[in-house]
Structure formats: C-alpha cells, structure tokens
C-alpha cells in the first residue's frame, strides 16, 4: 500500500536519508526502530512531503505522492501523529478533533459516530472536550494527537514515538489503542525507541542507522534473536 523506493532526502544541505526502501501493506503494523537521529522521523516527514525529497519514489496505493499537495494526503487516507504531537494548543479538545471532522463529505451522523469512537478509546478526552489543547498533560496530548488522526478515518497512520516521555500506565493505553486500530484494519507505520512495545505491536520491523535501513525482519525473528537489536540499538 505504502511504498518508499530508494528515497533520498535533504535538510538544507545535509543529506539525511540515503536510499530508504520501506513497504507497508494494507492493514499491517510495521515498526521502524533506530537510535536518535538516524532518520526515522525524517522518513515520516518525507512521506508527508515535509522533508525535501531528492531521490527515489514514494507511492501510496500505486499513486506517486510527488505532486500531491500536503493537504491532499489526509484525503488519500494518510494520517500523521508527529513526535512533538503538535496539538493546536489554543483550540479546545473538541475543536482539535473538528479540524479532522469538518471535512467535506462527512455526514452529521458519521461525525457523531467518529466522535463517540474516539471518546470510547480515550474517555478522558470527552471529559476535557471544552478545555484548551495546551492545558492537557503530555499523555492526554498524545491521546488527542492519535484521536485527531483517527477521526480522519485513515488507511494508514504514521505514528512517531507515541510513548516517548509517558508514564507506564499511559504507555500501556497507547499500546492497547495500536492493537485496536490494527484489529480495525488500519495500517500503522510505528516509529519507536521502545523495543518491546514495537516487537509486540508490529509484524515486521525495519532497523535504521545513519539515514539508511540496515536490517529488516519479522518481529518473531527479532524476538528469537536479540543480537541484531543489541548491535543497532545497544539495548
């Protein structure tokens, strides 16, 4: 469904991605592991058209994403949950969700249904629906960022370090949501530093180092043989 074929990307003059090739099939959860600064986030940004792509091709359901305007990706079924969460801080929780709900073609009934769905995932968001996004705790902001992506009814979610800096209870809740989305058939490209969580949630894992994919294996293989993990991640 989502195919990165030999993608190069630059930030200014520095060459950040060197021929990254990744594939995510429909409904599949794929992990992207690696240390800080190896290009995981940039890979997601390249898909979102935010990093300057200088080589290779990115296609989604066979369609080249080159030339698709940045605001056109959501309509194709690609949602992004950025590492910094990027909640609209001065908008209320409900207004944050409305940025994804108020798109053309969503009937009021479906709108209500989607709201109920994300409120069922994250009951705290319903409680806080009239509170400004900026006043939420880190964990709540992460939930809102995921909920905001879910209301877009995406085919794939690019999930960037969703558990970073969260307390264990929150991490467990996020993990549960990833499973729930997977059961619903939403594909997820999960960027993480949390190895156990990634191996648990993802079917296949790519390991990146210095802007390139160094290793690709199923989670089962990686669980059985932890040497690769030690080698690239030092854990």
């Amino acid at each position: 469904m989502l195919v990165l074929d030999n993608v190069d990307a630059h930030y200014g003059k520095s060459h950040v991605l060197h021929g990254v090739s990744i594939e995510v099939r429909a409904g599949e959860v794929v992990g992207l592991l690696g240390r800080n600064g190896v290009g995981k986030t940039t890979t997601l940004k390249a898909i979102m058209g935010m990093a300057r792509r200088t080589g290779g091709r990115i296609t989604f359901e066979g369609r080249d994403l080159h030339g698709v305007p940045p605001h056109g990706l959501a309509g194709l079924g690609i949602a992004w949950v950025p590492e910094e969460r990027r909640i609209f801080r001065l908008l209320t929780v409900l207004e944050n969700l409305r940025t994804g709900l108020d798109r053309p073609g969503v009937t009021p009934a479906r709108r209500e249904g989607l709201l109920e769905k994300v409120y069922a995932y994250f009951p705290i968001l319903k409680e806080r629906r009239n509170q400004a996004g900026g006043t939420l705790s880190g964990g709540e902001q992460q939930m809102l960022a995921i909920a905001r992506a879910v209301v877009l009814e995406p085919k794939i979610i690019l999930l960037d370090e969703p558990t970073e800096g969260l307390m264990p209870r929150m991490v467990a809740q996020i993990q549960e949501i990833v499973h729930a989305l997977h059961r619903e058939g939403v594909a997820i490209l999960l960027v993480e530093q949390n190895v156990p969580l990634t191996l648990d949630a993802a079917g296949r894992v790519y390991i990146m180092e210095k802007g390139a994919v160094r290793h690709h294996a199923s989670s089962r293989e990686l669980r059985a043989d932890q040497r690769v993990i030690h080698e690239y991640l030092g854990v």
Binding site: M48, M50, P69, P70, H71, G72, L73, A74, G75, A79, W80, P82, R86, F88, R89, L90, L91, E95, N96, R98, T99, G100, D102, R103, R148, L152
Partner: protein
Amino acid sequence: MDQIIIQTLHGLVNGMVLAMVASGLTLIFGIMDIVNFAHGDLLMLGAFVGASVLGVTGNYWLALLVAAVVIAVLGAALQVTTLRPLIGRDPLTTILATFGVSLVLQKYALWQWGPSVRQISEPVHGDFTLFHLQYPWYRIVTAILAALIIGGLWLFLKYGKYGIWIRATTQDRVMAQAMGIPVPLVYTAVFAIGSAMAAASGVLFGPFAGVTQTMGFDFTLRAFIVVVVGGMGNLGGSILASIFVSLLEAYAAIVVSPAQAVIVSFIVLVLTMLFRPTGLFVPTPK
C-alpha cells in the same frame, strides 16, 4: 467635564472603526506573517467604490455591502497573484510587494476618481443632545455597526467550521495541512475577509472626513500601531489597543490640537516597543 464626555464618545467611535481596520490587518499578519502595507489602500478603494455605488443608487447600505464584496474579491485576487508566489520567501519581499500594491492602488484611485475629495453622505441624520452639546447619531451608529461586524468575525472564528480552520492554520500551518485543511485556500479567504473589513470601515468612516486617494496611508499606519501595541496577530489585543489609543488621542485633543494629539499614539508605540515588545494586551508568557 462636557468636553471629557464628548471626547470619550469620540475616542470610542474612532476606536471601533480603527479596531475594524486593525482586526483585518492582525488576522492577516497572524496567519500569514505578512505585514500588509496595502491594507489602508484597500480601505480607501472600498470607500471610493462605496461612494460611487451611493452616487448611482442613493442607497448607503447597498454601497456598504457592494464595497465589501468588491474589495474582498480584489483582495483575494491580490493574494493569489502577488503574495502566494512569495510564501516562504524573505519577509522583506512581501513587505516590498504590499508596498508596491499600495502605490498602484493609490495611483489607480487618482486616475479613476480624480484628486478631489468625495463625500459620502451619512445614512442617519440628526443629532442628540448630551449635556448641552450636540452629537451626531451617525457616529454612534458607526460604532455599533463596527462592534457588530467585529462581533460577527469573532463568532465566525470561534464557532464556524472555517473559523476553526483559520485558527488551526494560524497556530500550526504544517499540522493543519496534515489534517487535510486546504491551507492555500484558507490564506486567500483570510485575505479576502481582511480586505472586506477594510472596505467596510472605509465606507463607515467616509462621512466623517470625506474620501481621498491618500486616506489609506493614515489608516495603515494607525492600524499598524495598534496591531503592534496589542500584540502582533492577537485579535482581542488589537481591538483593545484600538480603543485605548483612540481614547488617549481624544483626551490629548482637549489639551493640544487634534493634529498634535496623533503624536500620542506614536509615543505609545515607542514605549510599547521599548518596555513590552510582545504587546500590551497579551498575557505575560509563563
């Protein structure tokens, strides 16, 4: 005492008109980081269009509406042709571009309507007596209308679907795009809204002092001052600052001549830049 009451009224009325001009400017600045030096000239052009429509139809309210719509379309066209290609470039280029647009609009008005002052006759006549002094009803109507229009804008931004798009884009353009909000369209729409508000202010203000092709610069300057004093891009701050500065000017006019009273707003600007460059009417950052 009488004078203070009259000047308070004056200050409030002028403040509301200025607030309307400034809210368009601050909305555009907030979302696009563009200081639009042609803002006052869109006001001037709106006043001329209004005067022309009034001349033909004799209906002031129709003139107000037509001016707002015509200038909204012009504003949208300006944004698409002149400013959209400059997005992401050095801010200086957009300043120069809007300055150029300002000159073009002024010269166009001179060519189209000539150098003489056009009058817009007020739609509401009559005065009322306040402590032995006469005060025209029209000024009160103007202030109320301006307040209603600003209130309408606020409601639209707060509750409207597109209002939420505008606020989301103002806060985080990249994330707004990722949520599927058509940001280039939002930019154009905001520019059109700001232009329409400027044009409406021009028609409202027209009866006070007449319409000339150079009236715009004064408004750009004053609106710019209150936008800075109120905190760049902060709508509520701009409105408060408009009233604050206008009141100060009105009170100063009791002591010195009205022409000298304008200096007060520059003093406020300089003091704000020196001691609170983020703006007077914004919460202190924590």
